[in-house]
Subunit: 89 residues, 2 copies
Amino acid sequence: MKVRVLVRLKPGIMDVQGAAVKRALAGLGFSEIAELRIGKVIDIELDEARSGEARTRVGEMCGQLLANPILEEYSMEIVTDLAPREVAG
Amino acid sequence: MKVRVLVRLKPGIMDVQGAAVKRALAGLGFSEIAELRIGKVIDIELDEARSGEARTRVGEMCGQLLANPILEEYSMEIVTDLAPREVAG
């Protein structure tokens, strides 16, 4: 079971990195950007075939480690089509 | 037009951060993780109503700034349902 977790700063929390990238892109001629925010994508492959169970477990991971509940919010998507990955070395 | 860009390390490139998080989660009792990789999600709101044009421009942004073509690969999704965001301050 593959789960994609998106961790983003909560709305209202200033995204310094996103603002810097938006400004840099404007400097490169991309002036049409109204807003740009940067977060994390965490691709998890679980030894768990039931999607409900996977969702519960990944929610626990987010609560305990993956997201900072003060600054961040998360969403998750069960995916079956993540690009195949291999670990080096 | 809202575009979601996912920037990930290429398969085969060692993901040190992902390996550390996987190990930390195993230490918390989440031993069912077969693999975990971490990348970036970049949510862009563009002043551009045509999705083809938006795709082209965001592809240029990725090539010039958002992704490191040596280490990273990117994919993009045109979305109409990003959670509403507001910028602080």
